[in-house]
């Protein structure tokens, strides 16, 4: 249904989970893909290999998406190689660590805000000159069901950061529409990824799944159809929209 033949797509945080599935999905639909990672070098290399096997061009960039200089450096590498960025998927993010309010140290708060929220601002701002020059662009942010339900146990700071991502999505949609840059988001619910392997116990996951009308966690592959849709010409009249991919856990 969708084609991204020869379009240049940058997916941040694409070595694992939803980002990885999205990078693969775009490559399968014809795109040239920029894989970004910060620490998971081996996984990123493996993904690059898979994408090359599909016959698509791929570029690996490494850096901290919450550090302005590193973001600039990555955009410069992309510009040198491809000269354009048609689609940006702001996917990089992390729960970092579960902590209730009384345990939440300032440093942890800052880390969570930086990786989830500041990163979206910095990366979007850095790709803006290129997209303006092209006269078009699509930005898809990955927010979370936590943005609206306050998050699971000990994830209030993460939820707040994702609330920021959702609001930023709408603000950016209004701000960038005059440049023909459309900004939308997907809000995954509980998705089976290393994210939950790391931060959620099997007992907690069982409870979470029981609260989903579809009765199960989603898979990373089940989230990317919505990213591809928003990035495609199918969604050229949609901006400021957040598509919830949550098996019915929370309805808008």
């Amino acid at each position: 249904m969708f084609t991204f033949q020869d379009q240049v797509v940058w997916v941040t945080g694409s070595s694992t989970g939803i980002g990885r599935a999205a990078a693969l999905g775009f490559a399968q639909h014809g795109a040239k893909v920029i894989i970004h990672y910060n620490s998971s070098a081996q996984e990123a290399e493996e993904l690059a290999g898979e994408i090359k096997k599909l016959g698509r061009e791929v570029l690996l960039v490494k850096g901290d998406v919450a550090d302005k200089n590193q973001v600039k450096e990555m955009v410069a590498q992309i510009e040198e190689r491809f000269g354009r960025i048609d689609i940006l998927v702001n996917n990089a993010g992390s729960l970092v660590k579960r902590a209730r309010l009384e345990e939440l140290e300032e440093d942890l708060w800052d880390r969570i805000m930086n990786v989830n929220l500041k990163s979206v601002y910095l990366v979007s701002q850095a790709v803006l000159p290129l997209m303006k020059l092209q006269g078009k662009g699509k930005i898809i942010n990955v927010t979370s069901v936590a943005a609206r339900n306050g998050g699971g146990k000990g994830s209030l700071a993460y939820a707040a950061s994702k609330g920021g991502v959702s609001t930023l999505t709408r603000g950016m949609a209004k701000d960038l529409v005059e440049y023909n840059i459309l900004v939308n988001a997907i809000a995954p619910g509980v998705i089976s990824t290393p994210f939950h392997d790391r931060f959620s116990s099997p007992e907690l996951r069982k409870v979470m799944a029981s609260q989903i009308p579809m009765g199960r966690e989603g898979t990373p592959e089940e989230t990317i159809g919505s990213i591809l849709f928003l990035a495609s010409s199918y969604a050229d009249y949609i901006t400021g929209e957040i598509v919830e991919v949550n098996g019915g856990q929370l309805m808008d």
Binding site: R170, P213, M214, E222, I238, T239, E241, G248
Partner: protein, 254 residues
């Protein structure tokens, strides 16, 4: 476009004209066999089916007043006989006239006319396709709502109430049917010009409306068709109970 809906049977109510025509087209382009349901005007339905076929799609026109439960049951039987299979995708799109009334001018009959299309018909249709969907453990129900749910323009409460009911219906049915592998979603189009607007003097209304659209122009019917095709496909198989705005950013869900 390639066949993400190959082998699927889709039913689009009110599929001969307006948004329904373009929803039928988009589903057929994605590979579905499309039943173009219509109420009165066979010539329009035939034209739509011919057009879809000329674009390489497969469609058939079937008449039924979907506000009548017996007719709905007959329609679903006809589809099953004709295609030898059950409906995979139901698009509740049909609407009637959309007159504007103040509260003082409104009465229960005027409200009911809208509820007939937006609540009664979808209920009968959904009941009739459910046995097939439950047996297959999969199905897609897509309700065409509207941006008016959020904009709620004055002197239009009859229509706003009908379209708002579809949102509650979407959520409630999504909860009830999720464990059967059936997703239920809504699409909320903006003010998009179709046949029903022909001959109306809309210049001032459009100029006023477009000022509120971040994308700066009205949408096209195919924008809605494409959104429905996405929700009907495997790409959206973990999306349920949601409403997708296709309105150029006029309304943002929070």
């Amino acid at each position: 476009m390639n066949g993400k809906l190959d082998g699927k049977i889709a039913l689009v109510t009110g599929g001969s004209r307006g948004l329904g025509k373009w929803i039928s087209y988009a589903l057929a382009q994605a590979g579905a066999k499309v039943v173009v349901n219509y109420a009165n005007q066979q010539s329009f339905a035939d034209e739509t089916v011919k057009w879809i076929a000329s674009e390489g799609g497969e469609a058939i026109a079937m008449q039924a007043d979907i506000r009548d439960e017996a007719k709905v049951i007959g329609l679903i039987q006809s589809i099953e006989e004709y295609y030898g299979g059950q409906v995979d995708i139901l698009v509740n799109n049909a609407t009637g006239p959309q007159p504007r009334y103040s509260i003082e001018e409104s009465n229960w009959e005027i409200y009911l006319e809208q509820l007939d299309f937006h609540v009664k018909a979808p209920l009968y249709l959904t009941k009739a396709v459910l046995p097939g969907m439950k047996k297959k453990k999969q199905g897609r129900i897509i309700n065409i709502s509207s941006e008016v749910v959020q904009l709620a323009p004055p002197n239009f409460s009859n229509y706003v109430i009908g379209k708002t009911a579809m949102i509650g219906m979407t959520r409630s049915w999504a909860n009830e049917l999720g464990s059967n592998g059936i997703t239920v979603n809504a699409v909320a189009p903006g003010f998009i010009l179709v046949e029903r607007h022909e001959g109306q003097d809309l210049e001032a209304r459009i100029a006023d409306y477009v000022k509120r659209v971040p994308l700066g122009h009205q949408g096209e019917p195919l924008d809605v068709g494409n959104a429905v095709a996405y929700l009907a496909s495997e790409d959206a198989k973990f999306v349920t109970g949601q409403c997708l705005n296709v309105s150029g950013g006029v309304v943002f869900d929070v």
